[in-house]
């Protein structure tokens, strides 16, 4: 996994609640057997018109959001299906972090496995960031080490993250390798139960 330490990037706003993983990556794109190449299908049904042309009304198609690497959205982001194709598509599109007041559990976990940092911020901070994101030049910096999000205009907000997951992200470690260190405990558990 690619480590996540610090990231500075442009912010795109998606002012919607309960964005489900069916919207993030519709089912017709789940048939591939690779982990890569999903970015082109991100938000497909919102992003493209029936004739295949980009939908000019969709938030990410607005010129000011071009090249954004940080997505800000509303409550319960990533609800619904467990498809890890959702974070794969967001990361492949170029996002390094998603900020929202709350996330669905499975999606949140899936992001952490793919070096896409899900950040829970208070609602009022999200409202502020959604407003700021309307500007084409608005950037945020995210430090995972410090667990802080800030801009160059005085905004700063801290966030929580599980210390174990934080370590894995900072180091970019493969979790399965790490779990093998605990194999004696797994063997002992299996013996005790058999």
């Amino acid at each position: 996994m690619e480590p996540f330490i610090i990231h500075k990037g442009k912010v795109a706003g998606l002012d919607r609640a309960n964005v489900d993983t069916d919207q993030i990556i519709p089912k017709q794109f789940l048939k591939r057997i690779e982990r890569t190449g999903f970015g082109q299908f991100l938000f497909y049904d919102w992003r493209y018109l029936p004739d295949g042309a980009p939908n000019p009304h969709f938030e990410l198609n607005r010129p000011e959001n071009e090249g954004a690497t940080i997505l800000v959205a509303n409550e319960n982001f990533g609800c619904g299906s467990s498809r890890e194709h959702a974070p794969w598509a967001l990361a492949d599109y170029g996002f390094r972090a998603v900020i929202a007041p709350s996330f669905a559990d499975i999606f949140y976990n899936n992001c952490l496995k793919n070096s896409l940092l899900p950040i829970k911020l208070p609602k009022e901070d999200v409202v502020y960031l959604l407003k700021k994101a309307e500007r084409p030049d608005y950037e945020l910096t995210i430090s995972l080490e410090q667990q802080v999000v800030f801009d160059d205009e005085g905004f700063t907000s801290t966030f929580d993250i599980d210390p174990y997951r934080k370590q894995l992200l900072l180091k970019g470690w493969d979790e399965i390798d790490l779990t093998f260190v605990y194999e004696p405990y797994i063997i002992a558990y299996e013996k005790a139960r058999s």
Binding site: D22, P26, N76, N110
Partner: protein, 471 residues
């Protein structure tokens, strides 16, 4: 010893390793696998030269992509590749597979219980959010992503934080015509699509105790639509009777011993949940969704709401977008919404009792002109049983299409989809935009409500039909 909830009992029983500042390393008793979320996980194992640690605790089937007519002719090449990949992966890694030729094939959450793989007290995972279904047996069952699928294949464990616990107490009694589906839709309608985030739910109360195993599965299945990590129901005699003689359940003396152990799986007197919520079952009506989340629903005798009725700006905006997508006007009676498609199936409502319930409504009647109606049994075993009982013929005589088993129109990954702008009465679990096809307008309902909509061409209050039947 301090009193514990059933959730804590199962959790503590499965902790392999615990250390401060870390999630618990949790042992997984059963790993169910399907074709869509597993190929990248097997590929990961292959790249690192890893094995499946416990193929004997792993079980695979094909369900999401499977055509439900001419199932061996898969025209979609990418879908076919995914199924071929599963066959190859199962062969290479020694994982048992119920493939399209198997009489045991079906939706993964239908066949797990049917085969007796699902048992009380087990930890069960699958790369599918509706894994919560298995909680109906008093198992701790939750959906995981593909990276976690790979982790479980390699280690038979997962690093997991201890969940918060919530009691969902459903008291009273259900009126005739009100089903388990209506109970869970009403709960989500009242408390929202994310009240369960971070929690495992335990459903309790008189209403839950009186439900059959299949009805309990419907309730637990949709726990994820409340955002819950899992939902479960403590096992009782109904559970044990269901499991007796199932293929993979213990047999003879071993079964009796297992039952004694399973009886301990209950929440102790005095145990404390992190949150408790109540629902009066007597107040629940047959429920229909009008929007694009499972919480956007109304009793059948209600109307489509106005965005102004909602408290926050975020909600008002969401309702406005939903009504626009659904092509519905505020104030429209739910019974006036016309239906062009009916889908009876999915891991929520495709079991034999669901089909029996729908067939009672359909018997001797015809599907309304202009309505296309499908019945997709949850498994090949359900299909066979329905054919033996004559239920299949009831549907066919009424003009329903009778299909092979699979996920089908619940998510339209196979050719079964709903065209843009058309309304579908569906017994599935998600009414998200585009779920059943781009622009498709999904209304979630119970099997009886779906069957009635097929006959009348619009939604009908099935309570009136039951009253007629009683007279």
């Amino acid at each position: 010893m301090a009193p514990k909830t059933i959730i804590e009992k199962i959790w503590d029983e499965h902790v392999v390793y615990r250390e401060d500042g870390k999630p618990d390393l949790l042992y997984i008793d059963l790993h169910l696998v399907h074709e869509v979320t597993s190929p990248q996980a097997f590929e990961g194992l292959r790249q690192k030269g890893r094995k499946v640690r416990r193929p004997d605790l792993t079980f695979a089937t094909m369900d999401h992509n499977v055509p439900t007519v001419n199932r061996f002719v898969i025209e979609d090449e990418v879908a076919r590749n995914q199924m071929t990949a599963l066959e190859r992966n199962c062969r290479e890694f020694g994982v048992p597979l119920a493939d399209l030729n198997s009489p045991e094939q079906g939706i993964v959450h239908v066949i797990g219980p049917e085969l007796g793989l699902t048992q009380p007290g087990k930890t069960i995972v699958c790369g599918d959010s509706h894994t919560s279904t298995h909680g109906a047996f008093g198992a701790l069952a939750f959906g995981i992503g593909t990276s976690e699928v790979e982790h479980v294949l390699a280690t038979q464990t997962l690093w997991q934080h201890r969940p918060k616990t919530m009691q969902v107490n459903v008291t009273g009694a259900l009126a005739p015509g009100v089903s388990a589906k209506d109970v869970i839709l009403a709960i989500i309608g009242k408390f929202g699509v994310d009240f369960g985030t971070g929690y495992v739910l335990e459903f309790t109360g008189d209403v839950i105790r009186r439900l059959s195993m299949e009805e309990r599965m419907t309730i637990c299945n949709m726990s994820i639509e409340a955002g819950a990590r899992a939902g479960l129901i403590a096992p009782d005699d109904v559970t044990f009777a269901y499991l007796r003689e199932r293929k993979y359940a213990p047999k003879g003396e071993a079964f009796e011993q297992a039952v004694e152990k399973w009886k301990q799986l209950c929440t102790d007197e005095g145990a404390v949940y992190d949150r408790v919520i109540h629902m009066d079952g007597s107040e629940i009506a047959p429920t229909v969704t009008w929007g694009t989340t499972p919480a956007m629903s109304s009793p059948i005798d209600g109307t489509v709401p106005h965005p102004e009725e909602f408290a926050t700006e975020t909600e008002r905006k969401a309702v406005q977008l939903a009504l626009q997508y659904m092509g519905l006007k505020p104030g429209t009676k739910m019974t006036d919404i016309p239906v062009q498609h009916v889908f009876i199936g999915s891991c929520t409502n495709s079991r034999i009792s669901d089909l029996r319930e729908a067939a009672r409504i359909v018997k001797g009647k015809k599907v309304a002109p202009g309505v296309r109606a499908l019945v997709v049994p949850g498994s090949q075993q359900v299909k066979k049983q329905a054919e033996e009982e004559g239920i299949a013929q009831t549907f066919i005589d009424a003009g329903f299409e009778w299909r092979d088993s699979g996920c089908s129109m619940c998510l339209g990954m196979n050719p079964d989809t709903v065209p843009a702008g058309e309304h579908c009465a569906s017994t599935s679990n998600r009414n998200f935009e585009g779920r059943q096809g781009k622009g498709a307008r999904t209304h979630l309902v119970s099997p009886a409500m779906a069957a009635a909509a097929a006959i009348y061409g619009h939604f009908v209050d099935v309570r009136t039909l039951y009253k007629e039947a009683v007279r």
